[in-house]
């Protein structure tokens, strides 16, 4: 289990990284934390001709606040975001979800943007981005653009990122007053990709529920402040709409049940935070 050969570019600044990406396109891959990419290289599922390492670029490892947005740049490791002082009040959903992401050891290396680019439909960071209506900031040599999370994720490990683009940063909305947040997940073992992950955001007039692990990308629905059987019906419709996956680790039925039950539980927890 050894990687196929590739050239290695140690980019010193963003221009070098973008130039290399422009030159090699789909033959190049960005490496940051490497926690998703290296297994694929070792198994030769991916055989890029060039790896572009962006971890040597200065200034990519500090969270910025842009008004209501928490902007996480490409070099920020998951553990560093989790350790950010005040994260639990700045965005409680992130503080609740990040400990579920892999293990202590993989969070220490894996990056927030890397997990976004990998676009695993069960993953916590894409789920939080979708739940919080976050944005993905893409950059190529020619241009920069921003996509809403719901538009960025296109399918199982497929995104709208073009071959010459990299994710420069992702932005999560910070907690707003009068809004409740909650996160829950069921996985086979602690640290595994979720069978179903639920992220709820509840505002004065609206309930938002985002779900990972069910469809081929994280999906979000919004409803007025339903409760009782109306909420059950809404969740049931959502569960069926997602056309749940069936795989080794869970049946479609279990996934639908979790959307209904864990989804409701998560919404209720978010409501309690609100109260």
């Amino acid at each position: 289990m050894k990687p196929a050969p590739f050239d290695y570019v140690r980019a010193r600044d963003m221009t070098e990284a973008l130039d290399a990406l422009a030159q090699h396109g789909s033959d190049a891959r960005i490496i940051a934390g490497g926690q998703s990419l290296l297994p694929m290289l070792n198994m030769r599922l991916a055989k890029p001709a060039v790896l572009i390492d962006i971890m040597g670029i200065a200034g990519l490892d500090q969270v910025r606040r842009e008004g209501e947005l928490i902007v996480v740049p490409a070099g920020m490791r998951q553990a560093a975001l989790l350790r950010r002082p005040g994260l639990a009040s700045e965005q409680p959903l992130l503080a609740a979800a990040l400990p579920w992401l892999g293990h202590y050891q993989t969070r220490a290396r894996g990056t927030v943007c890397g997990s976004t680019a990998h676009a695993d439909p069960s993953a916590e960071i894409p789920l939080c981005l979708v739940a919080l209506d976050g944005e993905i900031r893409l950059r190529s040599r020619k241009k920069q653009r921003r996509l809403k999370a719901s538009a960025f994720f296109a399918g199982m490990m497929v995104t709208e990122k073009a071959d010459d683009e990299l994710i420069e940063a992702v932005a999560f909305s910070a907690a707003r007053p009068g809004t409740g947040y909650a996160f829950n997940e069921v996985a086979r073992r602690h640290g595994d990709f979720a069978i179903v992950g639920c992220a709820a955001v509840v505002e004065a007039g609206q309930i938002h529920l985002a779900v990972a692990g069910v469809a081929d990308k994280p999906e979000r629905r919004s409803w007025p402040r339903l409760d009782g059987s109306a909420l059950d019906d809404a969740l049931n419709a959502f569960a069926w709409e997602l056309d749940a996956r069936e795989d080794l680790h869970a049946t479609a039925r279990l996934r639908r049940d979790l959307v209904r039950n864990l989804g409701r539980q998560t919404i209720e927890e978010a409501l309690r935070c609100l109260a």
Binding site: F6, Y8, V9, G34, Q35
Partner: protein, 177 residues
């Protein structure tokens, strides 16, 4: 821009357990192979090469990393710690290593290096961890022999010993996790 060609070997220099070392590496050479077969530090073991089992966990600049998910070229200029760097002297054991021995927290010993490394990093962040916190850290490793309970017991005991005030120079020396 610095570009290392796939077809060539490149000299990569870094610090291993406090000493400067270097190794010849193609870009694709995994850090596990560089450490074990390039440098001869065979204490870091290879159990899965896809980042799950944790046997190859090392510290890079004090932060845990799966060496099998790290390229040798990524070690350039870094401070690397492996299991060979944990004991205070060749003929001694660290507090944690001694606790592992007392508690029979290893059997075949193949996974042990990685677990010791993770605990080394974690106890620096959290000197007084709960059992659950330790279970989650050790949860990033697979051990097929022990059933984990003795590992957790050893880690709890070692953490308690390490929290005691240091009184003599000997203790100071063994205060290395």
């Amino acid at each position: 821009m610095p570009r290392l060609s796939a077809a060539a070997r490149h000299r990569i220099g870094f610090t291993l357990n406090g000493k400067p070392v270097s190794v010849e590496a193609e870009p694709r050479l995994l850090a596990t192979d560089a450490l074990r077969h390039g440098i001869g530090a065979t204490g870091t073991h290879v159990g899965c090469e896809h980042g799950v089992c944790g046997a190859c966990t090392i510290l890079i600049d004090g932060v845990p990393a799966r060496a099998c998910l790290t390229l040798a070229v990524q070690l350039e200029g870094r401070e690397v710690t492996t299991v060979e760097g944990l004991a205070p002297a060749q003929d001694r054991l660290s507090v944690m290593q001694a606790a592992f021995r007392r508690h029979h927290a290893l059997q075949c010993g193949f996974c042990t290096a990685g677990i010791l490394i993770s605990l080394e990093a974690f106890l620096r962040e959290e000197p007084d961890p709960s059992e659950q916190a330790l279970r989650e850290v050790v949860g990033g490793h697979l051990c097929r022999c022990t059933g984990y309970t003795p590992i957790i017991a050893a880690a709890l005991e070692a953490a308690a010993i390490l929290r005691q005030p240091i009184t003599t120079s000997t203790d100071a020396e063994s205060a290395h996790v």
